[in-house]
Symmetry: C2
Subunit: 257 residues, 2 copies
Amino acid sequence: MTAQLVLTALPGVPLVQEGDDLARLILDGLRAAALQLASQDVIVLAQKIVSKAEGRAVNLAEVVPSARAIDLASQAAKDPRLVELILSESRRVLRIRPGLMIVEHRLGFVCANAGIDHSNVTGCAPEPDECVLLLPKDPDATSLRLASELERASGATVGVLIIDSHGRAWRTGTVGVTVGAAGFPALMDLRGRPDLFGDLLQITQVGLADELAAGASLLMGQADEGIPVIHARGLPYPLRPGSAKELIRPEEQDLFR
Amino acid sequence: MTAQLVLTALPGVPLVQEGDDLARLILDGLRAAALQLASQDVIVLAQKIVSKAEGRAVNLAEVVPSARAIDLASQAAKDPRLVELILSESRRVLRIRPGLMIVEHRLGFVCANAGIDHSNVTGCAPEPDECVLLLPKDPDATSLRLASELERASGATVGVLIIDSHGRAWRTGTVGVTVGAAGFPALMDLRGRPDLFGDLLQITQVGLADELAAGASLLMGQADEGIPVIHARGLPYPLRPGSAKELIRPEEQDLFR
């Protein structure tokens, strides 16, 4: 049998507003794509629509920057109010340069600007430029809730990933990475799996959820919210409970933090 | 129209030997999958089969470690002969710990052990444990040659990626990344592309080839060489000349090297 991984961008997903029922939007999108959920399917969501549904848009005009935010903002050449939000979403600042602020997010991962998004965010302020979007509050929990709702509606056991695009050390360009996961083997442990010649492999842990996040991100594109939901079929590993936290390297094992 | 990205693992690709004609193997695999190459298709190859075809297997018994290799080997708790090969494939060593040696590869990217592979490598030494595999000599050039050969055979303009699995700063698990590319927009520059509301985006460069590498890697699996070639169809961006070098962050812009 020929193994195939098929990623489908669900059509017609409308612009998401605070309070929208994402499970309903996903099910509508599946219908529009003439897809029926089957067990082993995975739904990949752009974090942006999850954040919007959760009401994570913030009007910068309502943010009062602290003295520390004002100081760091001058180092980063950023709006002090944005820096205040970055700090409130972060455990600590790792690097700061003009135009660049790399932090350890409160959810554990390392990223620029605490994942706060500035483009295509409207509705929370009279001026679109004043409206920014924080990452979802608890993307693992949201993934789990959506997986349950999709299972209830379809009878199928599915995985759910919430993804963002992060920059990387050493390599240029952002790639899709997983910030929330449920029902998916986020980190796939191939330690001791026999290879072709029956020897034991050395330690190999694969960031499976990030691999799927990257592939789905490619299809989502970056500049518009038009295809924020991807349906994936053909994952060659069984689904299991999982969490995006599996993908965070503990600081004491991180030689590059 | 519903956008779809379809990744197909080509069946029946035999174990590769030095001197094998990879274009021929790819074309045979496409036939076995009942696929005809069309323009905009992309072929993704595991680096391992490219290295094998190029005869990059090395018998450790034939390697004489230098004094420096012996010293570093004791710090890394590795075979000094393997460390000698790592050094010969690298520009410099970035981090060294027991069990871990992270280098800047002569091709520019940062990775563990200079990408030298130890599993499922046979044929260069009486003992399989003594046989290791270096990365391809010039994976961009090989990608370009293969893209030309595939175009000549099919009439279709296709992209070719050669991929490996790399560990990452900050996150656990390896993910597929591109080490050689031709005919593919490795780094996709979305600077200035208008977003949904017509504003200009800030700088956004997407590591498109790495996103496809990751998705293809998911389907390849890690432990066997059985599916080292993936056919990808549905890339939502036009192909163009490209190189894996686009994905290497210049050191002076790298805050984590």
